[in-house]
Structure formats: structure tokens, C-alpha cells
Assembly symmetry: C2
Homo-oligomer: 211 residues x 2
DNA sequence: TTTCTTGTGTAACATATGTTACCGACGCCC
DNA sequence: GGGCGTCGGTAACATATGTTACACAAGAAA
């Protein structure tokens, strides 16, 4: 665990020792649940490797993608949930292979005043998560679906490092909270405009896709 | 300032003394700006009396209401902004007469480890703000405009304590990020259904409005 | 091979929301 | 009173998105 912790997070040495002592390295496979609606959260996940996505559901069961977390990031909503022993209002799912360090909830608060680098990390995370949520709101409130779809595909490309995005129209529709037919329609338009190529379960982003 | 601080926030005595020493009581009138886009934030506002609303704008100038803050609440986004000396990405406006205590940014961090009641307050605020943002996302993503309009009117009633909501169709349209014509249309439908009465700059919510 | 499941393409239609234009009502100020 | 700006009502139309239905293709399973 040593190197991975050292690498990305830039914690002070004493804190890294504590993390090694109390943190638990966990692995997840694609689609496995890290957090779920209504479950109590007893640890905060630090992403070591891979990506996870965070979703929100409403009363009617509609789900929407909030944001992705990748290396060295964390879900700060989990943080305040832990402190107040609340149930999770979001779901977190591994997107591909994922490794996290689970920090037990009783350490979170203890470290806050003990290690400045921990406090900074937590505060920075809060800020980043706020930004993500604001970006989501902006996207949903002001952008049409085709723009959101393009942004979605770009994000997938960024996270995977490949311009071949693996996803069915169904999945995309779910994460953007719309229907499959609509996504197929918009994708087809993008294809006709020479932006992408469509295959079964795969979408190839071509040059000039971002334009 | 004494009583007001004591009342709502439930801080420990030593912290209240510090707040009295370093906090600055400020008053705003309806419509006055507390924070604005792109401005650096050097203090965190604790709401003592009245209500303020927090808005977000996108690149094209479209604005949307994020949430309201009232007594004993605070904008925790300001908190992390202060720490990292960032510019504000939101705007805060007084809704009616408003009193806040402005906490200077250099105290925020200092108090965090010094006063447990401060830390708890900050963490609780983070959590509440996350909840508000998630509620916003849910509302925008899953609910039709008529539902959002009803929720908006209810919130206005809750905050003002009066079932006579003072607002022009224009203002409402702005805050819900739509157009005046659309709001007029929906309000008229509500009136025809016996839920509300429409006057110039005023909307009367009738019995059974929530149903 | 056949069968089954899942994914995709497409049409036709329903609905919500955005847009433009115009009119009249109200309140304010001179 | 008369002029003026803001506000609200309404129609007509444009567009984006949601919905349903059906056909076919690709791959998995039998």
C-alpha cells in the first residue's frame, strides 16, 4: 500500500503511517457497489486506482450521474455522513477495476486537527465536490441533451484514456436520466455529422469530436 | 450582537466571545449583494436574521436559484473558498432585510481545531449545503416546471411566513431559469385549478395549495 | 443449426417548454 | 387628466424531449 499512498495524496509522513496502520485496501470489480442508498457509511473511500461513479436517485427511482472520482480523489459527502452517522443519499459504483483505501470513520475527525495535510485534503475535496455538483446543475439546467451527451463522452474518454468509449445506449441514457431512444437518436446525428462511429456497445470518438 | 449569537448557533461560550471580538455585524437591504461572481471572498457570512438567496450563473449569463439561507445558516461554499483564496462562483443576494455576522477568513481555520462547536457547525453546514444542492439537482432533473414552481412558492411561503408571496412573474422565471411567459401560463393554470389567486406582484396561496 | 437475449435504427406521435408578438391593465409621475 | 414604464394574459408557432411500437442485427446459449 505504501507507494500508492505516497504517490498521489501528498500527505505528511506521520499521516501516511497512520493510514497504513488503520486504512484498509479494498478492490472492486466493474459494477460493484461501494456505497448504496440508505446504507450507513462507516468509512471514507480514498481512490487509489481506477474510477468510480456517484449517482443520485429520486423518490420515483429515477437515477442520474453526479460525477466521477478517480485517483487521489474522495467522496467528501461520505465524510460528513460519517461524522453524523447518517445514511447515504448517493450510490457509488466501480467503473472498471477499482482500488480504494477505506479510512474508518473514527479516524476522520481525529486526524483533522492532528494532521494539517489531512485537513487541507478534506477541505480541498469539499471544494472540488461542490464544483462538480455546480457543474452538474449548470449542465442539467442550461445545456441541451446533445451538449450533455458530448460532455459525457468526453469525460469517458478522459477517464479511460481511450477514444473508444465502451457503453451501450441504454447505460448512457440511464446516466443522463433520459431514454434509450433519445440517446440513439442523438448519437446517430453525431455519427452523421462525422463526429463519431457507432458499434455495438462501443462508440469511437473521431478527430474533431470536441469541435 | 450578544443575544443573537447565543440564540441560534449554540456555540460554546469562549467561541461566542471570539465571535463578538472578531465578527462584524452587517445589515443589508432587499436586493443588496453579499457575494458576487468572480469576487474574492474574505469572510464567511453567518445569517442572524432574514434570508438570503444563493444563485449560480453559467457562461451564457443564465442564472438559476440554488437555495435560500436563513437564520443560523451559512454558505459553506464560502468557507472552502476562503481557505483557498478563490473567487466566488456564486452570487448571494439579500431577500428582504438581512443581518449577518461576517467572520474574517483568517479565523475560520484557526477556530476549527480550537472549538469543537465550531467544527461541528461547519461540518453540519457542509452536509446541509450538499443536501440542498442534491435537492436542486433532483428538482431540475426529474421534476417538471409546474412541480418546481409549486415547490418554489411553498419555499417562499415558508421563509416569509405568509401565504401572500410577493414576486413578479419575471423574478420567478429568472430564479427557475425559464421565461416569463411560461411562468404566467403555469400560474394561470394553478389559479384556474383554485390553488392560488393572482394579483399584480403578488400571489395568494389558498388552502389546499400543497395538495 | 435454432433460439433467445440484448442492442440498435427508425417512424409516428404526445407533451413540455421556449419564443415571438401583441394587447390591455395597472400604477406612477408630470 | 395624459403619458409612460412595468406587469400580466394570450395566441400561434418552433423545438426538444419523452413515449410507444416494431423491425432487424449481433452475439450468446442451447
Amino acid at each position: 500500500m505504501d507507494e500508492s499512498v505516497n504517490l498521489a495524496f501528498q500527505f505528511e509522513p506521520a499521516l501516511i503511517e497512520e493510514i497504513e496502520a488503520f486504512g484498509e485496501l479494498r478492490s472492486f470489480k466493474d459494477g460493484e457497489l461501494i456505497m448504496d442508498y440508505g446504507k450507513y457509511i462507516r468509512m471514507m473511500p480514498l481512490v487509489v486506482k481506477g474510477t468510480l461513479k456517484v449517482l443520485k436517485k429520486d423518490d420515483n427511482g429515477n437515477e442520474i450521474l453526479l460525477y466521477y472520482l478517480s485517483s487521489s480523489e474522495t467522496c467528501s459527502m461520505a465524510y460528513s455522513c460519517c461524522l453524523e452517522e447518517k445514511k447515504s443519499v448517493v450510490k457509488a459504483i466501480a467503473e472498471g477495476d477499482l482500488q480504494i483505501i477505506a479510512i474508518p470513520h473514527n479516524k476522520l475527525d481525529e486526524w483533522l486537527c492532528k494532521y494539517p495535510s489531512w485537513k487541507n485534503y478534506i477541505m480541498r475535496s469539499f471544494n472540488e465536490r461542490f464544483s462538480e455538483l455546480l457543474k452538474s446543475i449548470e449542465s442539467i439546467a442550461f445545456h441541451k441533451l446533445d451538449d450533455r451527451l458530448i460532455a459525457y463522452l468526453k469525460e469517458k474518454k478522459r477517464l479511460s484514456g481511450s477514444s473508444l468509449v465502451k457503453a451501450s445506449h441504454y447505460q448512457i441514457a440511464d446516466e443522463l436520466a433520459t431514454s434509450r431512444v433519445v440517446i440513439s437518436r442523438l448519437l446517430k446525428i453525431l455519427e452523421n455529422n462525422g463526429k463519431i462511429l457507432l458499434y455495438r456497445n462501443e462508440i469511437k470518438l473521431l478527430q474533431g469530436f470536441d469541435a
